[in-house]
């Protein structure tokens, strides 16, 4: 019974407070996302990934760094090692589970840094207009014109290999699209009546940007970030594969593929299994991103 009333409370046409309205619209979005089975599938995979990362010490059957040279390169399904072992006898399943932490860490950092930087640049450029706008957007265009992976390579070369530098390099190449998007949104919002009303009440530019423009840019940014996550994961794995991201013995998935590459013809599973993990996770982000776009940004989807 209480469940029904909560549902009715959430689906009411006349919200009684701001929080009520916000929760109601959130719930309606969730309902429409829930009807999209592919998006829910993606979300399910991501929940599993987060759980695996959080509970890694409990789930992993072995220490991901423990070497056991007597049992090196065991095939799939061997005793005690469901996914086999790598060239140093380390359990691949355990390394995969711990590797989920690294993947989530990289994705979370890039997904925080790049959109935040883009939002800042885009809204300031869009709101200020004039020379500020021209200069900032030119810089954005320059970064947009770069080949992303090659630029990230050059950055990592300059900064040195490592996870943090890989995150920095990917963020540096990922922010321009967000800046463009935030600017476009700001331009349409800037001239609306309610912004004029807020300005007449004496709000300064900083207050207008942070309190009244940012909240309206968020939903399209979220969609874009979710769709970009797959690209971020692939870029991070590529850097790891080239030996420029996470360093051994870290169980980063891209680095694991690079390690297994040497035995690909005789011991195929060492490189295959982490590749499947990367594929599954980026597929999940793409599916969820598509679903979120349909919910939050109906004008973009539907085609």
């Amino acid at each position: 019974m209480t469940d029904m009333t909560l549902r009715q409370w959430l689906l009411t046409d006349a919200p009684t407070s701001r929080r009520h309205a916000r929760l109601a619209s959130f719930y309606k979005g969730w309902l429409s996302l829930r009807s999209n089975s592919m998006a829910m599938f993606g979300l399910g995979i991501l929940v599993v990934l987060v759980l695996a990362a959080a509970l890694a010490p409990l789930l992993a059957p072995h220490d991901p760094f423990a070497q056991d040279l007597a049992n090196r390169l065991q095939p799939l399904g061997s005793e005690g090692h469901i996914l086999g072992t790598d060239s140093l006898g380390r359990d691949i399943l355990s390394r995969l589970i711990y590797g989920a932490r690294i993947t989530l860490y990289i994705v979370a950092l890039v997904a925080l840094i790049a959109p935040a930087a883009g939002l800042l640049v885009g809204t300031v450029a869009g709101y200020a207009g004039g020379w500020v706008d021209i200069v900032m957007m030119r810089i954005t265009d320059i970064f947009l014109a770069f080949p992303r992976l090659v630029l990230a390579l050059a950055f990592v070369a300059a900064l040195g290999a490592g996870i943090e530098n890989a995150v920095l390099a990917i963020s540096l190449t990922a922010w321009p699209p967000y800046a463009r998007m935030a600017r476009a949104e700001t331009l349409t919002i800037r001239s609306s009546d309610y912004i004029n009303a807020v300005r007449l009440q004496g709000a300064g530019p900083i207050r207008i940007i942070t309190k009244h423009i940012w909240p309206l840019c968020i939903s399209s940014l979220i969609v874009r970030v979710t769709l970009d996550m797959a690209g971020i994961i692939l870029a991070a794995a590529g850097l790891g594969f080239l030996g420029l991201g996470a360093q051994p013995p870290s169980p980063e998935w891209g680095a694991m593929i690079s390690e297994g590459r040497r035995f690909i013809l005789d011991h195929w599973w060492v490189a295959t299994v982490p590749g499947l993990a990367i594929f599954t996770v980026s597929l999940a982000f793409n599916l969820l991103g598509d679903g979120l776009r349909d919910v939050l940004d109906p004008k973009e989807g539907g085609q």
């Binding site: 090659v150 794995a237 013809l265 990367i278």
Partner: protein, 352 residues
């Protein structure tokens, strides 16, 4: 604005003026973007933790040798002047000498670049010849099984790590089935048989009419090229589909159908004609992306192109080579972007 300008200058030049203005703006933006590219690579070169002088003279050089090289590299000048020198050098095709083999970087790049171009061109051809028809059919038969296939193809393409797919391809088609040649451009006993005229082995072999070499080179390139082709196919088919859907829902298509034109004429003669310009833009962009995407592919297939060159240089801290390679790839990337932009402007009557 443009209309009032041209009226004062007389009617004859009227159609040309806005176009010229557009071209001038484009040229200016090319210059600014390229300057930005050079500035970024210059900064990267300067924040490097490696001392460029030490890298050349070695640790045991005397102080006077060190100072001489320091002055020769112009490191005593202000940063802005150094940046000026850098631009001057790049404009003259001088990226400095490679620290590994002491040869000019530009020569190295000229040597490895045709290999990348051969691979990327073949890849984009695969993408066009499969992706465009797939996208058109997916749009025409919206919701059918072929549309679902196109969707899955694109989704998998966006989610699959290219280097992993390359490894799997090698494992299956080379390791297990033995259908294709292994890594590298040729088997070892076919190397250096045909004279290198273009640097692209398929073309060189065809010019020399040496079909054995051609066949061998083809067996080596077919896997990496299809791999790159798959990625551009994912993008091209997706874009083609959404362009076509837009056209098919417009009124002139309904009119054409009402007139009694065959479905084939409506689709290929009317709707497809109107997406050609947009398609060229997409193809130019995906070609640019392939040049970049070839970095990881080249590593997997030991393909001696610019991607392998940059990565090898990177791992041995050969900064001149890394930055030279980055600048070349960046310039081509920018040029392709602008080329597609110009094409759009020239061929789309609405933008005039």
């Amino acid at each position: 604005m443009a209309a009032t300008d041209t009226q004062t200058k007389g009617r004859v030049r009227a159609p040309l003026a806005p176009w010229l203005k557009g071209t001038a703006t484009t040229l200016l933006s090319i210059c600014v973007t390229m300057l930005g590219l050079l500035f970024v690579t210059f900064i990267i070169g300067r924040v490097m933790p490696i001392d460029p002088v030490l890298a050349i003279v070695g640790e045991r050089a005397s102080q006077s040798t060190y100072d001489a090289v320091f002055l020769e590299l112009g490191l005593d000048k202000p940063l802005l002047v150094q940046f000026g020198y850098y631009i001057w050098d790049v404009l003259h095709g001088d990226f400095g000498d490679s620290l590994l083999n002491a040869r000019p970087v530009s020569e190295d790049i000229a040597r490895v670049f045709p290999a990348t171009m051969e691979l990327a061109t073949l890849g984009v051809l695969v993408g066009i010849f499969l992706g465009v028809p797939l996208g058109v059919i997916a749009a025409v038969r919206r919701g059918s099984w072929i549309d679902q296939i196109a969707r899955v193809v694109a989704l998998v393409g966006y989610s699959m790590p290219i280097f992993w797919l390359g490894l799997m391809g090698l494992l299956v088609f080379y390791g297990i089935l033995g259908w294709v040649g292994g890594p590298g451009r040729l088997d070892i006993f076919y190397e250096d048989i045909v004279p290198a005229r273009t640097g692209m082995i398929l073309i060189d072999a065809a010019l020399a009419r040496d079909w054995d070499v051609f066949r061998n080179a083809f067996s080596h390139i077919v896997l990496p090229a299809s791999l790159l082709g798959y990625y551009s196919l994912a993008y091209i088919s997706r874009m083609t589909r959404s362009f076509m859907l837009e056209q098919l829902s417009s009124e002139y298509v309904t009119t054409a159908r009402v007139k009694g034109l065959s479905e084939r004429q409506v689709i290929w003669g009317h709707a497809f004609k109107n997406i050609r310009v947009q398609l060229i833009t997409v193809i130019a962009l995906s070609y640019a992306n392939l040049l970049e995407g070839s970095v990881l592919t080249e590593i997997i297939f030991s393909w001696p192109g610019i991607g392998s060159y940059i990565t090898t240089a990177l791992l041995s801290a050969d900064m001149n080579a890394v930055l030279g390679g980055t600048v070349v790839v960046g310039l081509i990337f920018i040029c392709l972007n602008i080329f597609s932009d110009l094409l759009y402007r020239v061929f789309d009557p609405r933008s005039k």
